[in-house]
């Protein structure tokens, strides 16, 4: 028997292009994108996706472990997949996952058939993460 697919719809909410610019915008801090340079080019060249993330939770492991992260920025994305604000990343049970705090992660497909599932390069935080920084006050 076929199982009915669960469908998730997601859309971006960009402002209308002709919306008036409000004065308050001038007072906003320009977001720092210094993390864009926190990249190991050799590792980045091996993967489709490089992201800056903050670790939210280590869920544990079976054969594979899963870490929940918050997306801080996209450094490289050559996949067709659009990452949500929070998502899970896999690693081998015997390997470290996403480091504490903020880090740059290098992602490869989790399997050959699931475009939405990703794992750290080599299945490990050792090869799949770099430039760890402990963000003060981060959650």
């Amino acid at each position: 028997m076929l199982v009915a697919p669960a469908v998730l719809l997601a859309s971006s909410c960009a402002p209308a292009p002709d919306a008036p610019v409000q004065a308050v915008q001038k007072e906003e801090t320009v977001p720092s994108k210094s993390w864009e340079k926190l990249v190991d080019p050799d590792r980045a060249a091996k993967v489709q996706v490089v992201l800056r993330v903050r670790l939210l939770k280590r869920e544990g492991s079976d054969k594979m472990g899963w870490d929940k992260v918050k997306l801080l920025g996209v450094i490289k994305n050559e996949s067709r997949f659009k990452f949500a604000g929070e998502f899970e990343v896999a690693h081998y049970s015997g390997e470290p996952g996403v480091p504490d705090g903020e880090s740059t992660i290098y992602l490869e497909p989790y399997n050959k058939t699931s475009p939405g599932l990703w794992r750290l390069l080599g299945g490990s935080g050792q090869s799949g993460a770099s430039h760890q920084t402990q963000a003060a006050g981060s959650k």
Binding site: L2, A6, D62, W66, A90
Partner: protein, 261 residues
Amino acid sequence: MYHEDVKVKKGETVSGLGAEYGYKVSEWRKIWDDPKNAVLVRKRGKPEHLQIDDVLWVKIPWYTVTRRLTTDADGASFLLQRNGEPGKRMSWVQTVYRHNQPIGPNPSPFCVDACTPDDNLPFYWTEDEVAAPPPWVKKFSGDPKVNLSKTFADRPSRDAPTAAMGTTKWRAIVSIAVVNEKRITVYDSWVWGFDLTPAGVSTKVGPRVPSAIERQGHLNLLRKGIGGWLVDFTILGFHVDFNLMNPFTFSNQGWTFRTPP
């Protein structure tokens, strides 16, 4: 110990089939001279005269020789290794009960490991992993040339459960898996796992031989296990994810699972 009834296909040889079931190529006589093949030997005379669709009986004598289960701070680690040689048709399967802490995209407490499928096959190791074993398994086994046809390794873990959840009881059954086309024979099975209390105290469980009921549950889970996939596309400016768990269980895909006859 039992025998696999292997139907010969074009290009296959006694030594080649033996190598796929864990024998050295030079050990082809152990198969050819097996009394179960006496009729075939009389009929064909020499191994070179083997014909397509002949049935060759291959004795499967391998068993686990290493069973190393250790308690970790947040779970347990298990190394299981069998004797014999590597072989393409010798693998491992594991089913898991994740109790009150299922994790990852697959929310089911019961699963065939990898619990979120990392390929569409029922085996523990993917073909890519067999070709290039993960570095942690090399270190864990102490063998830089570890072969995953002969070695199973796992290191499950969890956060300490809340008091309301109660102790997490993570359990698995792992078996040697012998592949004959789409029939998988599982044997030398081991129950293992860990208990993790709300205070964060982990205790290993097992390894022990499964009961008849546990063995049956292991087979049933394998039959109901799933490969999985996701597809996504963009239509009218909307990004659409179809999160499909593969509706075809391993059983529906044609895989059969049994214990040795």
